[in-house]
């Protein structure tokens, strides 16, 4: 079910009514039923995957928890009987045993994701290798369809299992609760990747709902719809036209495409998350933010702390940090420390290695093809280079007495970040590595005049559309500026009724009138929906 569809709006209304009328104790079960209904809408076969994931997660987490409970009880009972050594030995044994359970869980869940998502990618690469060595044989593609949201919910499940292993969180012993955490429907479309500890109170132990949560949530959903329908779907038309014919639309068009895509991706992704968080809020459940004004970032590193935040923190907590202290990296670090390399390099290299691996995985997670992997590695390269250039920047700033807090500098830094990222994102738009580099190269040979000779009207958008996009962009900017001082919606709630009513009605009308939906528009799928 797409968020921006009549079906979803109907589903949301009916679901909310049922949820709010139901007794508080029954709500998690109702939410689970709603989530499965929502998911089944994408295809009943999808439900099989998510249910089996829930079963695996349930069995693994409960087993680990039981083992942990048994350990604690044993140690408490035997406190005065066994020695410190023996206790430590026992703990280590218990840890190893729980780790084995965790590994089974990881294999079954990540394995499922790998098979569903990366089989054809692997086969294609093997076939290319076969071609390279001159062999005639080819492995046929499996053509496995990817169920909606699998990349997101497998990641939250993995997070849950690891958190239980680390004893950072106590798992639920109610299989329906486990299922609900994994299948909570607003997150199935494009995340965010929730942590069990953050969401379990609201989700599994709901309190009576506050009136404000409905209003705030509804406002956020409305805002998300506006971004998605008015801005994202409109810009997507031009982006598709430009990237669909790279030979015709080269040179300055590529730049236009990059700019439009930057706007489109932002409106689409943040709009979708607005709908996700707003919907959850209407059900009384708090979901963590996934974006914090990312286009105000002054560096690519900062951008990745503000864009798709839950993905960043997931990779950090479950891949980056653990890998930093894993045996292999430790050995490398030790070897480098003892070598004749300067200390700074010896310290940095293991970190860069870990970082490269994380970015490789990030790229791979975004899509099963080389252009995404390259995109991930390029992000890593940019961050690494800016890290290494930091001492240079510091010297520069000191010499020219630039305050990094001055507005012109911040604007420059933000623009630079957006430009770099737009270039990297071309790998996302153009699909293939070759086409992307070709398109990028053509920027330097093309003339900007083509943008003004009327060709932009041939992309499927008229002047009217561009004006709407511009106004939309300015509105987004204005709202983001306002947001820096605090939630706009909360302030709106305490504003006079007339103002609130006018703004919301105007927004609603704008969506109806200016939304790029209906016959004549391609229903733009959320970009991250292929996950």
């Amino acid at each position: 079910m797409l968020f921006t569809s009549y079906a979803f709006i109907g589903f949301l209304c009916v679901g909310l009514i049922i949820y709010r009328l139901a007794p508080v104790k029954a709500r998690p079960y109702i939410l689970l039923a709603l989530s499965y209904y929502f998911y089944a809408h994408a295809g009943v076969w999808c439900v099989v995957f998510i249910v089996s994931t829930s079963i695996v997660a349930y069995i693994v987490t409960v087993k680990m928890d039981k083992q942990a409970i048994a350990r604690k009880r044993y140690l408490a009972e035997m406190k005065d009987v066994i020695s410190r050594e023996e206790a430590r030995e026992y703990k280590a044994r218990d840890k190893r045993s729980r780790r084995r359970v965790l590994i089974v869980g990881l294999v079954l869940t990540l394995g499922l994701l790998a098979v569903v998502k990366y089989t054809d990618f692997t086969i294609t690469n093997i076939n290319s290798l076969l071609d390279l060595v001159g062999s005639e044989s080819r492995i046929p593609l499996a053509g496995i369809l990817m169920p909606m949201g699998i990349s997101f919910y497998i990641f939250s499940t993995v997070g849950y299992m690891v958190d239980v292993y680390r004893e950072a969180v106590t798992p639920t012993h109610n299989p329906f609760h486990t299922a609900l955490f994994i299948s909570f429907f607003p997150q199935l479309v494009q995340g965010p990747i929730s942590r069990y500890g953050d969401i379990k109170e609201d989700l599994l132990n709901p309190k009576p709902l506050k009136a404000d949560s409905l209003k705030l949530g509804a406002m956020r959903v409305l805002w998300g719809f506006a971004k998605k329908l008015i801005i994202a779907d409109r810009a997507l038309i031009a982006v598709k036209a430009i990237t669909g014919d790279p030979e015709k639309y080269s040179g300055a068009f590529v730049v236009a495409g990059m700019a439009l895509y930057a706007l489109e991706l932002y409106a689409d992704f943040t709009g979708g998350i607005d709908i996700t968080i707003g919907t959850a809020q209407m059900f009384g459940i708090g979901v963590k933010e996934n974006f914090i004004r990312p286009y105000f970032s002054k560096s690519v590193a900062e951008y990745w702390r503000r864009w798709h935040i839950t993905m960043g923190t997931w990779f950090a907590d479950y891949v980056f940090y653990p890998m930093s202290s894993c045996k292999l990296i430790r050995n490398i670090s030790g070897a480098l420390r003892k070598s004749r390399l300067p200390r700074r390099a010896a310290q940095r290299i293991p970190v860069y290695i870990t970082s490269a691996v994380v970015w490789f995985a990030t790229g791979l997670w975004h899509g099963a093809s080389w252009n995404f992997i390259l995109w991930g590695m390029l992000n890593f390269a940019v961050i690494m280079i800016s890290q290494e250039l930091e001492p240079l920047y510091d010297k520069f700033h000191k010499k020219f007495r630039f305050s990094t807090n001055a507005v012109p500098y911040k604007a420059f830094a933000a623009t630079r970040t957006i430009v770099i990222l737009s270039c990297l994102r071309m790998l996302d738009c153009y699909g293939s590595v070759g086409t992307t580099f070709g398109a990028f190269g053509s920027i330097f040979t093309g003339s900007p005049a083509v943008l003004f000779d009327g060709s932009m009207s041939a992309l499927g958008l008229t002047l009217f559309d561009y004006v709407i996009l511009l106004l939309g962009m300015l509105t987004l900017f204005a709202v983001s500026m306002l947001q820096r001082k605090g939630s706009v919606r909360t302030r709106l709630l305490s504003a006079p009724f007339a103002l609130r009513a006018c703004l919301l009605i105007a927004l609603f009308t704008a969506i109806l009138l200016f939304g790029a939906y209906g016959p004549g528009y391609d229903v733009g799928q959320f970009i991250y929906n292929r996950f």
Partner: protein, 79 residues
């Protein structure tokens, strides 16, 4: 804990030679250590002391001073 403290101070000094006092507080609160520094410290600690610091232990309080880091290592190794 003292055995770790000196090494930790050395690591911090290597990362930020401009610092006057490696023993100071507020390494995270004042923005002196960034995420790359923290990772470097973690890797070094794992390498030199076999102290594996998990994600849940990576908090601003635990890394705010060399002393705090040393205490963290102590806690992990003696648990």
């Amino acid at each position: 804990m003292e055995e770790y403290l000196d090494t930790i101070k050395q690591i911090i000094a290597d990362l930020h030679p401009e610092l006057d006092d490696e023993d100071r507080e507020g390494l995270v609160a004042d923005g002196i250590l960034d995420s790359y520094d923290i990772i470097t410290i973690i890797t070094q600690l794992a390498d030199e002391f076999d102290a594996v610091i998990t994600a849940d232990k990576i908090t601003p309080e635990n890394f705010d001073s060399a002393r705090a880091i040393a205490e963290l290592v102590d806690e992990i190794l003696n648990d």
